[in-house]
């Protein structure tokens, strides 16, 4: 120990040449900047990263196995716990896969509410990303503004579903229940105030010269490499590829909404930051459009063997009571087949592969988590960078370990 103390030089100097010594640093799994339980095996030469090996699996809970033992409607609850910052997106991908196998039509109002909530959730997810990735780089105050806005959205989700982080609001065939009275007024209030919040973020982050110099030119991935590494969502658009599942494989009526797909050409941390910031404006735009389209109407599909009946119907009609009992006690069977249902989650392409053997439990559910794939490109982005920039790159990938490990 004493020899180390004796070796401290009298004066610190900046070394720009290789030390020609290799050091291995285990970063995580409890490191605050790894956004959960990610461990990085970093091979360092001084402060330069020679090799980065992500080590994942610390949060593995066997969710894909669990799906096979639960009825279709019980699986929705598991999806909440995957990407816990975007639970409604996970719900949507899962229920849409089941709905596609069942071939049922969802009523207009339920579709609009799904779009509304997915976009609110996307804003909330981006708020956590902006707050925490700025915190990693030492910008502390923006975190509080972000979580203030996120809190408002979580309150809205709680008002509709009863859950803040685990809503399970979307059900196979529609929604859990209709919006509470006065919801659109509260949502509109949030939407009206959000434009001001966006200005605050732009001032605190975009205009901050320290932020700019920490992010520009760091963690560059080219357009070709980004596609080759399978990046999707903001990470891909940050490398200049215009790809958005909402536009290019539209679902839940996204083709009827007016929004732009922001892209940035540089492929660095700054590019991914700008894409997400600009996405906030687009999501805000879609929220406003969805609010205008909210018209009274049914929120559940006309499929009595799949959708739970209204409480009132059960008191009056025997068949509703029987259907309710059967759905709860035995579940419903889904015709044999397989689908891959991709949606644009807040972090990229969130795909659910569902295989049914005709029973009331899926034979296989696989979730293509965007964080999992985006993280696999981390070595390509961080090798040759400084160790402090690895933190910036992890922040710009916007990973959630709950989804990576499943």
């Amino acid at each position: 120990m004493s020899s180390v103390v004796d070796n401290i030089p009298g004066q610190f100097e900046v070394l720009d040449q290789s030390l020609e010594t290799e050091m291995t640093l285990s970063m995580g799994p409890q490191h605050p900047s790894t956004h959960g339980v990610l461990r990085l095996d970093l091979r360092l030469d001084g402060e330069l990263v020679i090799k980065a090996i992500p080590d994942i699996g610390y949060l593995h809970t066997g969710m894909e196995k669990l799906f096979e033992y639960k009825k279709y409607q019980q699986g929705i609850v598991i999806t909440d716990r995957m990407d816990y910052l975007n639970p409604l997106g996970n719900n949507l991908a899962y229920v849409m896969a089941a709905e596609k196998l069942l071939q049922i039509e969802i009523p207009e109002r339920a579709q609009v509410i799904r779009v509304l909530f997915c976009e609110l959730q996307r804003i909330a997810s981006h708020m956590v990303w902006l707050g925490t990735s700025a915190l990693d780089l030492g910008a502390m105050s923006i975190f509080f503004f972000c979580f203030k806005e996120r809190e408002k959205i979580l309150n809205l989700i709680e008002a509709a579903s009863g859950g803040r982080m685990t809503p399970s609001y979307f059900r196979i065939g529609g929604l859990m229940m209709d919006l509470p009275a006065g919801f659109d007024r509260r949502c509109k209030q949030f939407s009206d105030n959000f434009a001001d919040a966006l200005n605050t973020f732009e001032t605190l982050a975009t205009g901050n010269t320290i932020w700019q110099s920490r992010t520009q030119g760091v963690g560059v991935i080219s357009r070709e490499d980004a596609i080759d590494w399978g990046l999707t969502g903001p990470c891909l658009r940050g490398s200049g590829v215009e790809l958005d599942i909402r536009r290019h494989n539209p679902y839940t009526g996204y083709e009827t909404y007016d929004f732009d797909i922001p892209t940035e050409p540089d492929g660095d941390v700054w590019g991914r930051f700008r894409v997400r910031m600009r996405e906030l404006y687009e999501s805000h735009k879609i929220v406003r459009q969805a609010l205008e389209r909210l018209k009274p109407g049914p929120i559940k599909a006309d499929a009595p063997k799949v959708v739970l009946p209204d409480r009132d119907d059960m008191r009056k009609h025997m068949d509703s009571l029987i259907h309710h009992f059967l759905i709860v006690a035995e579940g419903f069977n889904i015709p044999a087949g397989e689908v891959y249902m991709p949606i644009e989650g807040s972090k990229g392409e969130l795909g659910v592969y569902m295989k049914s053997d005709g029973s009331s439990k899926p034979s296989r559910v696989h979730v293509r988590g965007p964080s999992f794939i985006n993280l696999s490109a981390l070595p390509a982005m961080s090798e040759g960078e400084m160790i402090a920039d690895v933190v910036a790159i992890i922040g710009s990938l916007d990973i959630v370990l709950g989804e990576i490990d499943r």
């Binding site: 894909e64 669990l66 596609i227 397989e338």
Partner: protein, 161 residues
């Protein structure tokens, strides 16, 4: 996903290129599935990527059809195009005795983690993969957790010691 006509035409083209590449085609719910023999998957992917614009590998996932089935395992490749935005599923069927398939890491770098996950969960061996080891489960884990004959709660409580 739309445009199944064009995809079925593409499959015919694939057949014309090499008749051994396509063993079966199925179309259901607007999705086209091409059954490919395990040893030619790499060549098919190479062709689809460079000649047909399927440049993004969205997903690879395994599935177990049950210990009594033969072929027992399947590996699904979900291809996507950032040019014409079509999706295509390739499926490789594997028997329990020889669950081996050629790797596609030479075609897409992203296949690395997908194949490691499939190996980890199902024990499917991807020949030619540069670094085929477990990814989610610990390296000394016994068995492959997503196989149908693997019990939900495992064989014994796992200990980190």
């Amino acid at each position: 996903m739309a445009n199944t006509e064009a995809l079925l035409g593409l499959v015919e083209k694939l057949r014309g290129e090499n008749a051994a590449w396509v063993s079966d085609v199925r179309e259901a719910l607007g999705e086209v599935t091409v059954f490919v023999p395990g040893d030619s998957i790499s060549a098919v992917c190479e062709y689809l990527k460079h000649s047909e614009g399927f440049d993004l590998l969205a997903d690879i996932c395994g599935a177990d059809l049950g210990p009594e089935e033969d072929p027992r395992f399947e590996v699904n490749y979900h291809l996507f195009s950032t040019i014409h935005f079509n999706r295509l599923r390739l499926k490789v069927l594997l028997s329990e005795d020889a669950p081996n398939v050629r790797t596609v890491t030479n075609v897409w770098k992203t296949a690395d983690w997908h194949e490691r996950e499939t190996f980890d969960m199902f024990g499917v061996v991807f020949e030619g993969h540069p670094d085929l080891r477990r990814i989610l489960l610990p390296s000394d884990f016994d068995g492959h957790a997503l196989r149908k004959d693997y019990p939900l709660r495992g064989y014994e409580p796992y200990s980190m010691n």
